[in-house]
Symmetry: C2
Subunit: 318 residues, 2 copies
């Protein structure tokens, strides 16, 4: 199976690529893997991989990327929430128009390809019930969430019309991301664990009581791959799926870090309230009913301590 990954130089895209090379698409082997990003994704010692630099906001990019042999497209490339909020035009171009171009290329060249679109819980916002389910309306309070919700609608309509076999997966906030902080407003959700474990101070811009809807990188990568495998008929009339997550407050996260790594590590976290960030984070959902996703075969992390342990085992000192 020929597979394409956009955003492949990013944290999740890179993990996804590694996992696809190692374990394939559950029962299907990956025979060819195209990795693309604005910068050429890191080279891999595997003859199946082609790495190429492509700016997906350029009109011809999607056409260069997609061909008749594509079996799955994982579209992870995006401008993150903080940046899309700061630069509306660029956000819409990268998050909406580029996705639309890719869908058009799939439609005309590989309409049976699975198109896995990385959406986000940021499609929810404003007024929502205490627990969100699959019939809860989207009401994004960021331009990032707006573009994601618009793309979900496109993915659904392209699938309904047989232009593509789309699946839009709404990612919870990913923690603990390895590497460095990014411009996502939820970047701190990794930073407050990662930086202290690496002996560095970390600023938490929200209150201890703030709850978040979280997933580990391992679980979300597994789930993104599962989205390409799940039977289309099981999805019914709506191709967007709330990927499973767990709810933890910043206080819970700090406690988990304390039990796994001790007081000295925790002492490196400093609380410095940032109104811009806190306001957006407050608008994000914190509890989602996982039952549909679990029934569809997606996975969930057991608790936040397990997430911290997993980071310490696989990512720390890498």
């Amino acid at each position: 199976m020929k597979v394409v990954v956009t955003g492949a130089a990013g944290f999740l895209g890179s993990r996804l690529a590694d996992e696809l090379l190692l374990n394939g698409l559950e029962k299907t082997k990956v025979t060819e893997l195209i990795l693309t990003d604005v910068q050429t994704p890191p080279a891999r010692q595997d003859p199946r991989v082609t790495a190429l630099a492509l700016n997906l906001t350029e009109p011809t990019a999607a056409d260069k990327l997609i061909d008749e042999k594509c079996g799955v497209v994982f579209h992870l490339a995006a401008v993150v929430s903080g940046q899309a909020e700061a630069d509306f035009e660029f956000g819409m171009k990268a998050n909406l128009d580029a996705t639309r171009s890719l869908l058009e290329a799939v439609r005309h060249k590989a309409p049976t390809a699975k198109f896995v679109f990385a959406s986000s819980v940021a499609v929810f916002g404003g007024d929502f019930p205490p627990v969100i389910d699959d019939l809860t309306c989207v009401m994004p309070q960021t331009s990032y969430g707006t573009a994601k919700a618009m793309c979900e609608l496109l993915v659904n309509d392209y699938s309904r019309r047989g232009f593509a076999d789309g699946r839009a997966v709404r990612l919870p906030t990913v923690s603990v991301r390895a590497g460095v902080a990014n411009a996502a407003v939820t970047s701190f959700a990794s930073g407050i664990i990662r930086e202290p474990l690496n002996g560095k101070e970390s600023i938490c811009p929200v209150k201890k009581e703030q709850e978040l809807w979280l997933t580990s990188p391992e679980t979300v990568v597994k789930n993104i791959i599962h989205a390409a495998v799940v039977d289309a008929s099981a999805l019914g009339k709506w191709r967007a799926i709330n990927l499973p997550g767990l709810c933890a407050s910043v206080g819970d996260m700090v406690s988990a870090l304390r039990s796994e790594a001790g007081d000295d590590v925790v002492s490196l976290i400093r609380f410095k309230y940032d109104e811009f960030i806190a306001k957006i984070v407050t608008s994000l959902p914190i509890r989602i009913d996982n039952s549909r996703a679990l029934k569809l075969g997606f996975s969930v992390d057991p608790n936040f301590s397990a997430i911290v342990r997993s980071y310490m085992k696989y990512d720390l000192k890498k």
Copy 2:
């Protein structure tokens, strides 16, 4: 107040223009009225009116239409559901891209203008609860509904960012439309009343048991104008409003016609099931909770008989 109406040669646009000239925006007078459509809207004997032909899918059209003095833009122009389903590209261009261009023009020239966007209950579809409310998710099963839902998201984000003061009003199926049938899949909902009253046979492509969510033209025009007047702060974090409607089955509609106009008129209705139309109509919502809209000051028709009487009084033999 300078007001712009797109789709002004259409049935609703034309009614809206007449009402704006006659009664203004509730307490505000209309001092200048720009009416536009693909064909020049019919001339009116009123010095406040400028009628112009504009193809809103052309890149410069929105910029020609909007200027700094615009106080309200009523954006009614659209490709109807049947046509958007038959021609995906044209539907997206007219229903999504043209709206986006207008919003951009408003943003850069008249960001405080009210932007009233005519959306539709066709944003709902697939799985929905027995009664839809304002927190029910959209799940369009047509490309028309998809584009409308995408525009609602844009209207909301432009409003949130202060780029426009948007209001997206979801119109129930309008019945009885005067004039001739159009390519909307719900065109029959007017046809089965209008044609018999005009002595013509009319085909009903759905079953008698099929229920519809309906509004009269008078009420919906009043409500579209009210959308420009309602206080932004009352709308909260979501600028889409389900306009009030009433539920009636085709059987109820026929009974109302019988009581108002007699058996001979009703005998002109012929039932001829059309699977393409029936399938789309079945996916449309039939019961929506009117309470938020009524609280916001929108109006509702008392029953379908009143709608038939109103058509007979004001539109018949015109």
